[in-house]
Symmetry: D3
Subunit: 131 residues, 6 copies
């Protein structure tokens, strides 16, 4: 079981990058940091590494935001675990988030991130229509 | 308790309209039918009647589809209960649906619709970020 | 399977009594109406009939309210299904309700009541501490 | 939407058969009754009709019981909705039931059955490993 | 993201205090310890620090117990995350706990506490009436 | 609160054993490793130590597999938390797993295991029939 689970992180603020990276490594995941949505999409679609979850800020460098990245990730894999991190855009989650996603409002504790990623991965195939 | 709970239904197929209408009435709700997304938005924003839930087809007459209507309803009220009905677009739910919504794949039984509406209403304020 | 499941209902408003009674009967339950909390406690503790769920208004005739009745029902049986019905006291649920209970805000549709009772009964032994 | 959702019911007690059949029809489903597990398996595997859910007694005529039928149904379709009905074997559910199934203890109200079937169908693809 | 999330802990047993404090710090939270319910209420109502969750023993020094503190915290904020820790009073949770709370039975592992706090925080606005 | 919660782990691959052991210890649990299902049953039934959860591989040395061990553990205690770990047998979970269990697909991150164990323990008495 040497293969670690790769988690794609999109965050340009270096201090938060560091916290997220440390938390995921300590939880046993392998974070890959993308600085912009465009870069993240190349990684997601490249297929060299199979990412298992997306952890994304909302307001990103470049032209695409976190809501849009998550939609594209779900078009590739309808069950892709998605965690949004945001300080200001939390109230948009109800209209712009994808189903079965988690929103972490900044500031959050590293344990919240690790619990959210673990929980979504453990849930396996999330319901396509929870009722 | 004479006031009935108004449920906004967007569906242009008359046979499904009838089934949905009958099911909601039998469950004790008061359905209001809109034939297009544009008409539905006028009703939602008009405020003459306070709708308590949205039941919408995906492919609608006019220029806006069901995914878009639901987003606009959630911008007005982040906790608005949303039920999508679709035959062909079910695989888009994971990327285009709003969180805490229910997808009914056609054909469905009337009891599924009534259970879904009841369940979302009973849940009160749905979690802004379920984890 | 002739035995019907008895549901104890505490409600003094006769019009709501009627709606609740009809909804439960149509769902296949056997409602027993108590007009006050004191009367309800006598029925719950008497043991002549084994009630399977409690549906209670908050503001009751007599000295005990619905929050208190539910607590006493849970002291007898920690897994007793509890549904509160209220028009004015909904915001007290978070501090005065018992865990794993459902709050129906008046007005509600009969289907919401039947779904709530069914859902709590189907869940069997509700978690003693959901996490 | 003329196609009704077929639900396979395995129950040999005629009075319960009648109650289950009536409840499903009123909920808008199309029940198909099998008197034994062997007969049910032929129907499930025959493929002439696509069943959408299984409602089964535990102690069946013939050599296979309800626990076993449910396992075989899940081997054909890992997300097949399963509802067990039992009077005496409820305590075996935790060790013999399949994940994401519902157990109804006899006697139950018809609304509990309809809510359970609707709920499992609405959940779409149940999680392969809920956590 | 330098701000840590403050978690109010009410526990007078020093050995458990230490375990809870260490677990929360390692999870990235900032625990504040109160030795009595009275002290905790002063902190909650003082407003100098915005606490994000309550972790409380049931039997406290002073006149108010953990069940009562949680009710008061929920009256201030209906969505306040509440975790009870208890050795002896677990069977009272069903009648005295607040909805959407978690009960940890002593002894528990530190990871259970961190998971419970994270889970409740991630759930954002817990449902006001889950059904 | 010196007593640690014992978790029974059945795994013969030494590298995975080590990862599971380390993760549980860091989470504050006390893992006990059994190399075969037969050995695990002796420990479970021996009663010298009260195990609080089972973490088991599917394909085991000896004649009994992980699906079978979990069934036997649930016959002793219907609410026993069960976590399966598997690389190859994940698609059998829907038909061979016990209700309210978690499946971890190898490779998994240590945090997923700790979250799953914590989550099941926090849930206390899991529903005997979730609906």
């Amino acid at each position: 079981m040497e293969d670690k689970l790769a988690v794609l992180v999109i965050e340009d603020d270096q201090s938060i990058q560091g916290i997220v990276e440390d938390a995921l490594i300590e939880g046993g995941f392998e974070p890959a940091i993308a600085a912009s949505g465009e870069e993240a999409l190349i990684l997601l679609k490249g297929g060299a590494i199979k990412y298992r979850a997306l952890v994304t800020d909302i307001n990103l460098l470049g032209r695409i935001n976190g809501w849009e990245i998550a939609k594209q990730a779900r078009e590739i894999d309808p069950e892709f675990p998605v965690i949004y991190m945001t300080g200001a855009a939390a109230d948009q989650w109800a209209s712009h988030g994808v189903p079965n996603s988690v929103l972490l409002t900044k500031p959050f504790a590293p344990a919240q991130l690790v619990t959210a990623v673990s929980h979504l991965l453990n849930a396996g195939n999330p319901p396509s229509a929870p009722a």
